[in-house]
């Protein structure tokens, strides 16, 4: 047993922190820390800064342009970014699609897509969910039919985050409608191709990050299918498994807790003992969850059926909602005020640090739903590990 993070990482954390202090524009950080959805301008600008530093793909292998960090460094980097208030980057592209490309793609595919992604020149969107599939991905109905050198795709994708900024969309589609999970393939679609229609979905926080994507006889070259036909389910699952240690969103939770405390001190709410006790409870939760994440990282190679990803997802998402509620509460009479997205002047009264709190609180109702609802996670735990 070794229950401490190696102190050698302290220096790395310092390095990251020092760089962020210098490289991250203050106005950009302030906008992020208000916690509205990130604007495309901030996102583009920050991607370029990261790319110039060579830190755009923290978890990427060196051969594809990553910095060659181990996973502890990646985690530390992400945590520091969140705390400093860096804009969200293209998570779908960097964390989900790129690994599929470098693991299962051909050299040509890697050449085609990885460099522009890393350089911040191309943006990606993700198309997994469908209107009638919800948490039940096995019942996808978007079809891709081979037609000579092309596939013709028809169907609808939903909850596609930020796809309105995207140049490319990676999708799970049915290539063999008879098979269930095995008939699914992983394909790339040009977001500007004929037949692609994007309908914004405004969330209850009045923000726009979600979309519905209609694919109507959209054609893609046959070599825009990654890996083998009908094996896409396995690729998706493998990568989601790799990500499972991060399901609790510790960096985001930490940032949220930090802002909650700041806010509650600013408004004076922290002096209320009952309130402080609830903040303390959330903090205790977070500290256990953080360590469970470390356990999951360390045990990653273990290959047990211990459902740590599901546990982290459940508790991390519940915590995020709890912290959101506490922030709204800390705002007192300003908790229910709508501060419009993107507005910069003529804002309603109330502390500036709290302007995005309500929108975020609303939007985060989704965290217990997406990525396999918490109900589904509980069933996974019960079935897989407890064998119920």
């Amino acid at each position: 047993m070794k229950l401490q993070i190696d102190p050698k990482y302290d220096a790395f954390r310092e390095e990251v922190r020092a760089w962020l202090k210098e490289a991250l524009p203050a106005d950009m950080a302030a906008r992020t820390l208000q916690c509205y959805h990130t604007t495309i301008e901030d996102r583009r600008a920050w991607s370029k800064i990261l790319a110039a530093k060579g830190w755009a793909g923290p978890a990427w292998p060196k051969q594809y342009g990553g910095p060659g960090w181990d996973e502890w460094q990646v985690m530390i980097f992400e945590e520091e970014c969140y705390l400093a208030g860096t804009p969200m980057v293209d998570e779908a592209g960097f964390k989900l699609c790129a690994p599929v490309i470098w693991t299962f793609g051909t050299d040509e595919q890697k050449q085609r897509w990885l460099p522009p992604l890393l350089a911040g020149d191309q943006y990606w969107g993700q198309g997994f969910s469908e209107p009638n599939a919800g948490s039940d991905l096995a019942s996808l109905s978007t079809r891709a039919v081979r037609d000579g050198d092309e596939y013709v795709i028809n169907g609808t994708k939903i909850w596609t985050t930020d796809v309105h900024y995207a140049d490319l969309i990676f999708c799970l589609v049915k290539t063999d409608p008879e098979a269930k999970q095995r008939g699914i393939s992983f394909v790339i679609v040009d977001a500007k191709a004929p037949g692609v229609t994007i309908r914004p979905i405004i969330d209850i926080g009045e923000g726009h990050s979600l979309n519905e994507v209609f694919l109507d006889n959209v054609r893609i070259p046959a070599d825009w299918l990654i890996g083998e036909e009908n094996k896409g389910w396995g690729y998706g699952k493998l990568l989601l498994d790799n990500e499972r240690a991060y399901s609790a969103e510790i960096p985001r939770n930490k940032r949220t807790l930090a802002r909650l405390k700041k806010l509650a001190h600013e408004t004076g709410m922290i002096e209320d003992e009952g309130f402080a006790l609830r903040v303390a409870e959330a903090e205790a939760d977070l500290s256990a969850l953080e360590f469970m994440t470390l356990r999951a990282m360390a045990e990653k190679a273990g290959g047990t059926n211990f459902p740590v990803g599901s546990i982290l997802k459940i508790r991390g998402s519940e915590l995020l909602q709890k912290l959101g509620g506490l922030q709204v509460e800390a705002l007192g009479p300003y908790g229910a005020v709508v501060y419009p997205h993107g507005a910069t002047n003529d804002m309603p009264p109330g502390p500036a640090i709290g302007h995005g709190v309500l929108a975020d609180f609303m939007y985060r109702r989704a965290v217990t739903i997406y990525g396999g609802s918490n109900e589904i996670q509980r069933t996974i735990i019960a079935k897989s590990y407890l064998e119920l």
Partner: protein, 370 residues
Amino acid sequence: MDFALDEMQTMIKDSVARWAEKEYDFETRRKLAVGNGFSEEHWRTFAEMGWLGAGLSEEDGGLGGGAEESAILAEEFGKVLLLEPYLPVAVLATQCLLGTGHAGARELVQAIAAGETRVVLAHEEVKAMGVLSHVSTSAGSDGSINGVKTLVIGAPFASKLIVSARTSGEARDQSGIALYLVAIDAPGVERKDYRLADGTRASEISFRGAKGELIAADGFAALDRGYAHALVNLAAEGVGAMERAMWITRDYIKTRKQFGRTLNEFQVLQHRMADMLTELEMTRSALYRALGQLDTDPAKRRLNLAALKVQLGKSARFVGAQAIQLHGGIGVTEEYSIGHYFKRLTFIDSVYGSGAQHLKILAKAIQAGN
């Protein structure tokens, strides 16, 4: 005891329900919410139907009802997430006015009930933290008011304000709070309007030497009365909103399929909905209790109302959150109704002193030996 509605009560309930079904469907309301949040036409209807005086005696310009009638109305309004400031104007300000015993108050109440004028109470301050007697806004001996009031719901549609201002004592003393009637456009009154999450409108209002008419030299009892009535009506609204949200959710899970089954076949969701009903009915029970004892002595009433608000807040948050959760993704979209119930229900916990703040009132009473 009798929990059944009498003839007049049934009539009120039915007429509001009919109106809401015809005039206040979800799409109409949604447009209003992102519009200016208020319809003069609706307000005229409220006046014509006598709803603005549902809780008033006939001599006060009402239908001859009381708090129960008003609550019945509020429950129906809650079901459709009414945007117009029924509660701030026809309950909070009206009951506060009646509580002053001021000579002109009745006349004003009659005008409100007739829909001729709208008055709201400007009392809330940023540092109040749920303490009703918190007033740091001051009134000089010449009646000039200085200070800032916040979250004055309905103010953008009001012509007059009742303003609480301190004439003596410390910020949280119950004595030394005077009430003034101030025209919304009086010199020294500066208003900043904004929209709230539930689509209603409120203002932050600064008073810089504004002058008003004194309507209560010692106004705490009137405030207390106003907020007591506001709280029970808020709870009634919450009950209506929770009930509607519950049935919308019930209907949804009976049709939505996942993994080859409709959602209502999953036992976990069945039990979740049982808990939603339970929370709703707990609040309804607490509401009836508080309603029945609204005329008891203020100290006892305060504890009843605190218990009600605690229950209301807990129930509203739970029902709202679970209504979204059981809907899945669609629940988080602005274009679907259920998220708006969540917003209203969240706000209901926080307004007029949050559930947590009211719990503290109960706890202090217990510590003191109650």
